[in-house]
């Protein structure tokens, strides 16, 4: 699957993009746009930034600058030191660029040469990035968050080079100032491309290392599992017009297949292409050559690809393309997680509480980190891992009260009226909430990071940052009907009954 979906390598994307350029497009626009926003090279420029094409040069440039300011506004001070280092390197490029300016006049209407110039400068910049990538690495976690939260243009998971993305947000401010001046300069095109490829390879590896993403370069948007989850369920604010992207629907079997790469000789399956290549070395010396170990080039699929989104094969799901309010999934990983969470049995049971079940193993692992720490209980039987969540819950419902921790009760000895009344309260609460039914295929991510929610649905209600690691699905479903309207969970009441029995 990975193979099939892999984007073309960067070199080809660059060349293809250059080929797609409209001949009358000024360089200025092209350069800045591609570098500022990390636009994937495998898309035609006008598709991604139609507004730029329609705009005149003078208007457009300052606009991108402000846009970048927005991107980096989370903490400019933090990266000041790194930026000044970048600045030094940039001065080197500036010299090159200045020489280009002098030729601007006659290079203006030659589309082909324009492309060459673009490649040239991009390659130069890439060098700088490679040199500074370790410096930038310290900034990466911040950058990542910013990307996810602020700029829809860059947080596209399949956007081309991860490092370009980083560049645009991390060092972008400085670059912007010089980029408009970039114009054609004649140079050895092929050599540059070669170098650039090498850089891309290196850069990708470095980024991987820095982000612990462990993903291949083709998916090198530096995000880890949590972020993917957030994407999957929360990031719906993309608003791509229907038809502006290609919808791909994988079959159920394909989604659930444990392995996507198979050895042609012994048939062993692998999750990752790289692992397969490592495995292949054992089958003979011919698989040990640098060429065989290198990443397969994506030259084959040199057709200019448009934005690709995914549909869930489950009919009736909001993520299914037939749905009225279809919301596409962004990556393969999203598809996998979504499908497992929403439409599959929850086969992984927490070994500690024996109650919570998950269909995605990463969810189980996250849960197990916190399992047993749900010490904040409501009289209705709902448990919470955080006190503010419990109190938010209590504030919303009439008659619910927090229960006193059990160890306290033991100290006090025999059961008292208060306790028994709490128990009855709890029963009533459960009865009240059970009628809504019970969806075994609950599609909610169970461990959503509160950050994603704090600006979300609940803040006006002071029900901010609701934590879903516990059994508190029902309050959420009350206020959020986005995904599965039947996301009431019976586990809450069940577990409470069991606990009552134990006590």
């Amino acid at each position: 699957m990975d193979l099939k979906l892999r984007k073309p390598p960067e070199s080809s994307s660059l060349s293809s993009s250059s080929r797609n350029l409209k001949p009358d497009m000024p360089f200025v626009q092209f350069d800045s746009a591609s570098l500022d926003h990390g636009v994937p090279r495998d898309q035609s420029f006008s598709e991604v930034f139609p507004q730029f094409v329609n705009q005149s040069r003078g208007v457009y440039v300052p606009e991108t600058v402000t846009k970048n300011d927005l991107v980096i506004d989370w903490n400019p001070r933090l990266m000041l030191i790194n930026l000044s280092f970048l600045e030094q390197k940039i001065h080197q490029v500036q010299d090159v660029v200045r020489s280009i300016i002098s030729q601007e006049g006659h290079a203006f209407d030659r589309g082909n040469e324009l492309a060459v110039q673009q490649q040239l400068v991009t390659a130069d910049l890439t060098y700088i990035i490679i040199q500074l990538i370790s410096t930038a690495g310290t900034l990466l976690p911040n950058i990542k968050n910013a990307l996810l939260s602020t700029d829809p243009a860059v947080d596209r998971p399949d956007s081309g080079m991860g490092m370009n993305t980083n560049l645009s947000s991390g060092g972008g401010q400085k670059l912007n100032e010089i980029l408009p001046q970039e114009v054609a300069k004649s140079c050895e095109y092929d050599e540059l491309i070669k170098d650039f490829n090498a850089c891309v390879g290196e850069g990708g590896e470095l980024i991987k290392g820095l982000n612990h993403a462990g993903d291949e370069l083709s998916e090198s948007m530096p995000i880890d599992d949590h972020d993917v989850k957030d994407y999957d369920d929360v990031m719906d604010g993309e608003n791509l017009p229907p038809g502006s992207y290609e919808v791909l629907q994988l079959e159920k079997e394909e989604i659930l297949a444990p392995h996507t790469h198979f050895c042609m000789i012994c048939g062993k399956g692998f999750k990752r292409d790289a692992n397969l290549r490592m495995h292949m070395r054992g089958h003979g010396d011919e698989y040990k050559t640098p060429a065989a170990l290198a990443k397969p080039s994506k030259e084959a699929s040199s057709v200019p690809s448009i934005i690709r989104r995914y549909s869930c094969p489950f009919v009736g799901c909001k993520r299914n393309k037939e749905h009225k309010k279809f919301q596409p999934l962004k990556t393969i990983l999203c598809v996998k997680n979504h499908y497992k969470r929403s439409h599959c049995d929850k086969s992984y049971t927490c070994s500690r509480c024996k109650t919570k079940k998950f269909s995605v193993i990463a969810d189980l692992k996250t849960h197990e980190k916190h399992c047993g720490r749900d010490k904040w209980n409501c009289s209705c039987g709902t448990t919470f891992s955080r006190k503010d969540k419990l109190f938010g819950h209590v504030a919303l419902f009439q008659g619910h009260t927090p229960t006193i921790p059990i160890d306290d009760a033991k100290v006090s000895g025999t059961p008292d009226t208060a306790q028994s009344s709490e128990a009855t309260n709890g029963m009533v609460g459960n009865v009240g909430f059970n009628f809504s039914g019970n969806s075994p295929n609950d599609g909610q991510s169970l461990d959503i990071k509160s950050a994603a929610y704090s600006q979300g649905y609940f803040s006006p209600m002071n029900f901010d940052a609701c934590n879903f690691s516990g059994l508190d699905e029902f309050p959420r479903s009350v206020y959020e009907v986005s995904e599965s309207p039947f996301s009431f969970l019976s586990t809450g009441s069940c577990s409470f009954m069991q606990r009552n029995g134990e006590n």
């Binding site: 006190k387 504030a395 927090p402 006193i404």
Partner: protein, 667 residues
């Protein structure tokens, strides 16, 4: 009123008299009730009920409130008064525990009309007792659990079942957390007054829930809580809130007070003293949003008030009656603005405002003629001129505090004495006054509280003058008035029979003879005799026999007092609650006798009892562990006393202060 000699009183109780039937035929029950309505003094009421059985019965039915002083009489009292009682005060019974309390409540099962119960300091009462209380008294409206350090969430949960609760005081219930508060907030949604001062576990989350659930709150005390601006935001949503006390909330700053800006003017009183991070701007926003504010206490927050604050005072022109500005730099011009803006000011507190001058006071009182209370403690610059202007303008003055105003002389008091005839309280501690001043002061016949500590020049003459006219005096402080002798006390005891609190510390000329006079003050409750080196056990015995209501006694450094004095105290002063016998020459037997016999004892200071062996300490404390709330001991005893005993003491809410003090013969 009807009065019966004490000796006969007991007899009346036990032995029915032949005249009983006659009396009850003459006075019907409702007629007697009518009479009792007009008898307010508890002593007079006691005399009443001791007349005969008929009177006693009438009093039983008529009685609505009861304060129990000794635990052992509780069951009997409750049996007698159960039917009519509405207020029950058990704050003087620290030894009360769940069992005793439940049993007492069972006495009136089914007929309780109790509305208000005070269990302050009764830390032996836990959730079982409270659950029994809530069960037994369906009309319960007010509960006071302040200073029950053991009270926690379970107790709060038990209380939460009293749905009709309107008033709840939980000050210093150290075990109370957000969970307990939430229980109360959910259970008692009609709560109007709540005190959670010193409940240090409570956080923003709890306050937020409280504000959401108890929308009827009118009074809230959140002093000294570790809460932030978020809580103030939550509180600002309480539409009916009138009184907000938030002393010492050091995590609240101006930003928090901003939330009080946009309110519907319900706030009448706010106390933000000791909130370290509050400045003038926060204060201004409070005033802007609450133009109906009557009481404003901003003492000890920040040193200087901005002029903006004074201009904002105009918003409160008619409403403001109480203003406390302790510890500020208040200039004469500021006081003038206050005077011009707040004409209805009745009380002003300027204590520790060291920059206050005569001129400032002149400007203030020129406009604020309704002032009844002026606190000028530690305003060192003030002279007689300030007093003259006060006397000229404030004819309604009732309370004047001038502690440490050293420049004041007898002459200044002349004006106060002649002009302020309604003066009830005056504090002249550390002012260099002589007996002449007493002559002027004695014109204030309504004087109730008089403090003359450290006025070395006051002599017997002055006391004689005082006693001749100030018959209503209840509190007299003569700390270190070294010139005073037994004769002065004789005059006081003869003239001021109502004295309840008397401080004679370090008046070293006093002997047993003087105490004999003091023992004639039957209403005396609080007596301090620290450092009276000529007083012996016989004087103490006289006091014990004469002042039966004594509840606090300080005998520190009365070196001559020995076991004999303690025996007398143990025998006669049943209501004694606090005693300091540090440095007294008592033995183990005396200590055991004292601690073992006195049922009400709560606070005991036992430093440097060099004649008491450690075993006797152990025995004495074991005999009294369940009633003691405060204990002061030498640190050396910490390891000598058994850990079990110390643990038991702690478990009943007793706080032990271990002091490290070398023995000094004389200070």
């Amino acid at each position: 009123m009807v009065s019966v000699p004490r000796g006969d009183a007991e007899a009346t109780m036990n032995r029915p008299r032949p005249c009983d039937s006659d009396m009850s035929t003459v006075f019907s029950l409702d007629l007697l009730a009518n009479i009792l309505d007009r008898v307010s003094d508890p002593r007079d009421r006691k005399s009443c009920r001791l007349v005969c059985h008929g009177f006693l019965r009438a009093e039983e039915i008529h009685r609505r409130s009861l304060r129990v002083l000794r635990l052992e009489v509780l069951p009997g009292l409750l049996r007698r008064y159960a039917a009519g009682l509405e207020c029950l005060d058990l704050s003087a019974c620290p030894a009360l525990d769940d069992r005793a309390f439940s049993a007492a409540l069972a006495a009136g099962a089914g007929q309780w009309r109790l509305r208000s119960v005070s269990l302050s300091r009764a830390s032996g009462v836990g959730w079982r007792g409270l659950a029994a209380l809530v069960d037994a008294c369906p009309r319960l409206e007010a509960v006071d659990l302040s200073h029950c350090v053991g009270v926690g969430d379970r107790e709060a949960a038990a209380l939460a079942n009293a749905a009709g609760l309107r008033e709840l005081r939980l000050d210093k219930c150290l075990g109370l957390t957000d969970v307990g508060l939430a229980k109360v907030a959910v259970g008692c949604a009609g709560l109007e007054k709540l005190g959670i001062k010193w409940c240090l576990e409570i956080s923003d989350i709890g306050i937020d829930l409280l504000a959401k659930k108890c929308q009827d709150l009118k009074e809230l005390d959140i002093s000294y809580l570790k809460i932030s601006n978020r809580s103030i935001n939550s509180i600002s949503s309480l539409g009916k809130l009138e009184v907000l006390n938030m002393v010492g909330c050091s995590f609240v700053d101006d930003e928090g007070l901003q939330f009080l800006k946009h309110r519907n003017n319900s706030l009448r009183s706010i106390n933000i003293s000791r909130c370290e991070n509050v400045t003038s701007s926060g204060l201004t926003s409070v005033i802007e949003g609450n133009s109906g504010l009557q009481k404003l206490n901003v003492g000890d927050c920040f040193p200087e008030l901005a002029s903006l604050f004074f201009s904002k005072l105009n918003d409160l022109k008619d409403s403001l009656t109480v203003l406390k500005l302790d510890g500020f730099q208040v200039s004469a011009s500021s006081l003038k603005i206050i005077g011009l803006n707040c004409k209805n000011l009745a009380k002003i507190g300027l204590s520790k405002c060291q920059s206050v001058t005569d001129e400032g006071i002149f400007e203030l009182v020129a406009n604020c003629v309704h002032l009844t209370t002026i606190d000028l403690t530690c305003c060192h610059l003030l002279t007689d001129r300030a007093l003259i202007s006060i006397g000229d303008q404030c004819k309604k003055l009732r309370c004047l505090r001038l502690e440490s105003c050293n420049l004041i002389t007898d002459k200044g008091l002349e004006c106060i004495g002649t002009c302020c005839s309604s003066l009830e309280e005056i504090d002249l501690t550390d002012c260099s006054l002589s007996s002449t001043a007493m002559k002027y002061l004695s014109q204030c016949s309504k004087l109730v509280v008089l403090k003359l500590g450290l006025c070395y020049m006051i002599s017997d003459e002055g006391l004689v003058l005082l006693a001749s006219n100030c018959k209503k005096l209840r509190e007299l402080d003569l700390y270190r008035c070294v010139e005073i002798t037994d004769d002065g006390l004789a005059a006081i005891a003869a003239g001021c029979k109502k004295i309840q609190k008397l401080n004679l510390c370090y008046c070293t000329k006093i002997t047993d003879g003087g105490l004999r006079h003091v023992s004639r003050l039957e209403e005396l409750r609080d007596l301090e005799l620290r450092g009276l080196c000529h007083v012996t056990s016989s004087g103490i015995a006289k006091i014990a026999m004469g002042c039966r209501h004594l509840s606090e006694l300080d005998l520190k450094r009365c070196n001559l007092v020995d076991d004999g004095g303690l025996f007398a105290l143990a025998q006669y002063t049943e209501n004694l609650r606090q005693i300091n016998i540090s440095y007294c020459s008592i033995s183990g037997t005396g200590l055991c006798m004292l601690l073992g016999t006195l049922k009400c004892l709560q606070d005991v200071k036992l430093v440097h009892l060099s004649l008491v062996p450690i075993e006797w300490f152990e025995i004495a404390l074991r005999a009294s562990y369940e009633k003691l709330k405060k204990l002061k001991l030498l640190i050396g005893l910490r390891n000598l006393l058994s850990p079990l005993l110390i643990e038991k003491l702690h478990s009943r809410g007793c706080r032990i202060r271990w002091v490290e003090k070398p023995f000094a013969a004389r200070r």
